[in-house]
Each structure stands twice: as structure tokens, then as C-alpha cells.
């Protein structure tokens, strides 16, 4: 089962990368990076499942990673939408 989910995690990462290269829109890029991150998390959780006991250290790292991913997404979204608004109003924002 570990191997299967390792491959799915790798597949998610590659899908996100492919979309990042091809679709330049900022919202799609942020969603693609989110999916790449989910792929990485899946690899970590699959590795935590080796052996008979589940590895709590990897689970804790992924919880940390999830929270950091959401804060990075919030910042990236605000940056991109702020940039969009500035370029829409050439006379300058407030």
C-alpha cells in the first residue's frame, strides 16, 4: 500500500507541475502549487505507513506543512489580486 500511495503522490506532483508549465493564469498556478504540495504530503504520509506502527513524526510534519500551505496560499492570492488591481487602475491605487 505504501508503494501505491507513493506513486499517487508522485503522480499528483507531476500533474501539478505540468499544469504550472502550461497554464499561466495566476489562480491556476496557485491551485497547481497546492496540488503539488498535496502530492508531497501524500508521499510523506505513505512513508509514515511503512512497518507495523505509523510514524507520528511524519504526521506532525504534514500537519505543520498543511497550515503553512494555507498561509502561503493566502499571501500569494493577496499578492496576485493586489497586482491585478494595480495594473487595472493605471492612475495609481489608494
Amino acid at each position: 500500500m505504501t508503494l501505491f500511495y507513493l506513486c499517487i503522490g508522485g503522480g499528483l506532483f507531476v500533474l501539478g507541475l505540468h499544469s504550472l508549465l502550461l497554464r499561466p493564469h495566476w489562480l491556476r498556478a496557485i491551485m497547481a502549487i497546492n496540488i503539488m504540495g498535496s502530492g508531497v504530503f501524500m508521499v510523506m504520509v505513505a512513508l509514515a505507513r511503512r512497518g507495523d506502527t505509523t510514524d507520528p513524526v511524519l504526521h506532525a510534519l504534514v500537519v505543520t506543512g498543511l497550515v503553512i500551505a494555507v498561509s502561503a496560499t493566502a499571501f500569494a492570492l493577496r499578492l496576485a489580486s493586489g497586482l491585478l488591481e494595480r495594473t487595472k487602475k493605471p492612475e495609481g491605487g489608494a
Binding site: R28, V45, L66, R78, A94
Partner: protein, 312 residues
């Protein structure tokens, strides 16, 4: 055995298909909604892989709050015009080749890891009686790797500061519909109750500060979107206090652990963020409670914070 394999196979195929649908849908709105569904499916996958804390966190943070963030960004900026958003067709083949190459490299790197030596769980579980809590993931988050969790709170605060630096158009929240108001009034106390329960439960079963904080943030966001909560403004003293409370309590515990023996405090630890085994349980609960409030306030500010006061 066969049923397990069938379930895993179906889950894997669903995940990959949903990811493809998210990334290649024609409309942005479709992509965002499918990403929320993908987050929920991911939560199911974490539950399948034996990670219930992760499932809770993913459902609350990954599906709920990220979905709210993306939808509000989409509402602020509108749908993209069709046509120019697609890459030129000449780029498709090199991009696909590159993605395939990266995939092959990843697969070759990950394959031998599936049977690697596994030493950490024994070490982590062996020290559990002295850690102060009974749940291994909470012990790792707040005892063995407490430094990482402290820095994570710093990262959350940095993201909040970054978001506040940017002037952005005011969020226009339309007046709520009556059914939504009634439903929110029913959900808000439930969010508070479940959040508090998940926080308390983190000491001995899956749960913890991040999941509880995300639930409380979700409750606060839905209250704000229905005008049942006043605008959450940074210049409100209580808001500022809540945001720095988690980090402050964490740092205080760390510093007291460091200088305690020198100042004559009896039963404290001997190094930065080292808890004495007798006090570890109560200390962890205190830190978690403060961190929950902090995380809830920060996440709420990230999603529905008002930059109003930045415009003079």
C-alpha cells in the same frame, strides 16, 4: 484483501482524475469548486492511510479555508477571459516531456523508499510516557518538535503581516439570506463546541491545536460573512492580543525553561523548550489553548480581515 486493494485503487484513480479536472477545467469557478472536493477526497485518503489528525486538519484547513480564500479571490478579480489563458500549442510537447521526465526521476527515487528501515516510531513511542500527553502526534508537535511548532506560529504571523501590507479592495459582503442567517446561528455554537472538544481531545486521541483553531476560524468566517460578527479589524486591541498570544505563551515557556534553574524556579526544564516531565502535561495544554486562539484569529484575519483601516 481484494476489497482493500479495490478501494485503494478506486481512491487513487479518483484522486488523479479529480486533480486533472481541477487543473484543466475551462472555467475558473469549476476549478475552485473541484479543488474543494479534491480536498475532501484527500481527507478521506488521510483517514485511509491511518492519519486521523491529518484528515481533520485537511477537511478544515485544506478544503474549507483554502476554498473560502480561493472563492473570495475569484470574486474580487472575476473570471479570466478565455483564449489567451491557454499556452501556445508549441509548448505542450516540451512541457509534457519535462513532466514525464520528472515523474520518472521521482518514481526511481521513491521506489526503494517503500521498504526502507523504520527507526523513528520506536524512538518516538518509547519516550511517550515522559512526554506529558498520550497521543503520539501531539507529543511530537508540542514536545519533541516544539521548536518547529513555534516557528510555524511565526510563519502564520508573517503571512498575516504580509497580507496586511497590501492594499486591496474592500470585500463586498452582500446582505445574507434568511435561511443562511438561521443556519449560521445554529452552526456557530456547534463550531465552538466541537473546536473546544477537539482541542481538549488532542492530549489523548486525534485532535489538537491546529484542527481546533481551524474549526474556530471557520465558525468566525461564516459568522462574519453573515454580518453576525463586526468587521475583524487589526486596530482592535483584542484581535492583536489574540494573534500574538500563542507565540507569546510559547516563547515564555521556552525562556522560563532556559533561565529557570538559574533564577531558582524549582521544577522547570533545563534547556530551551525542555519541559520537566511532571509539568509537561499542563504546560502543553496551556500552550495548545493559547495557540488555538492565535491560529483561529490569524486564519480569520487571512480570510475575512478588513484592510479598511489602511485607507485613511
Amino acid at each position: 484483501m481484494v476489497a482493500d486493494g479495490l478501494f485503494d485503487g478506486a481512491l487513487g484513480v479518483l484522486l488523479l482524475t479529480l486533480a486533472t479536472a481541477v487543473l484543466h477545467a475551462r472555467q475558473l469557478y469549476t476549478s475552485v469548486v473541484l479543488l474543494i472536493a479534491f480536498g475532501l477526497l484527500l481527507a478521506l485518503t488521510w483517514a485511509r492511510l491511518g492519519a486521523p489528525d491529518l484528515a481533520l486538519a485537511e477537511a478544515a484547513i485544506g478544503a474549507g479555508l483554502t476554498g473560502a480564500l480561493l472563492l473570495s479571490a475569484l470574486a474580487r478579480c472575476g473570471e479570466a477571459p478565455p483564449g489567451p489563458s491557454r499556452a501556445p500549442p508549441l509548448r505542450v510537447l516540451p512541457a509534457t516531456l519535462l513532466a514525464l521526465l520528472v515523474g520518472i526521476v521521482l518514481l526511481r527515487a521513491l521506489w526503494p523508499l517503500a521498504e526502507g528501515p523504520v527507526l523513528l516510531p520506536a524512538l518516538a513511542l518509547g519516550q511517550l510516557p515522559a512526554a506529558g500527553v498520550d497521543h503520539p502526534v501531539t507529543a511530537v508537535l508540542l514536545n519533541y518538535r516544539a521548536w518547529d511548532t513555534l516557528l510555524e506560529l511565526v510563519v502564520l504571523m508573517l503571512a498575516l503581516l504580509g497580507v496586511r501590507q497590501l492594499h486591496s479592495a474592500k470585500q463586498v459582503i452582500p446582505p445574507p439570506w434568511p435561511l443562511l442567517l438561521a443556519w449560521t446561528r445554529m452552526l456557530a455554537p456547534l463550531a465552538l463546541l466541537v473546536g473546544g472538544y477537539v482541542l481538549w481531545r488532542g492530549a489523548f486521541a486525534p485532535g489538537g491545536a491546529f484542527q481546533a483553531g481551524a474549526l474556530l476560524a471557520a465558525g468566525a468566517v461564516i459568522l462574519r460573512l453573515n454580518h453576525l460578527l463586526p468587521p475583524v479589524r487589526w486596530d482592535n486591541g483584542l484581535v492583536r492580543l489574540l494573534v500574538v498570544l500563542g507565540l507569546g505563551v510559547f516563547l515564555a515557556v521556552g525562556v522560563v525553561g532556559l533561565v529557570g534553574p538559574g533564577l531558582g524556579f524549582g521544577p522547570v526544564g533545563t534547556a530551551w523548550l525542555a519541559y520537566p516531565p511532571a509539568l509537561a502535561g499542563p504546560l502543553i495544554l496551556t500552550i495548545e489553548a493559547a495557540a488555538t486562539l492565535s491560529i483561529a484569529t490569524t486564519l480569520t484575519l487571512l480570510v475575512v480581515g478588513e484592510p479598511e483601516e489602511l485607507r485613511a
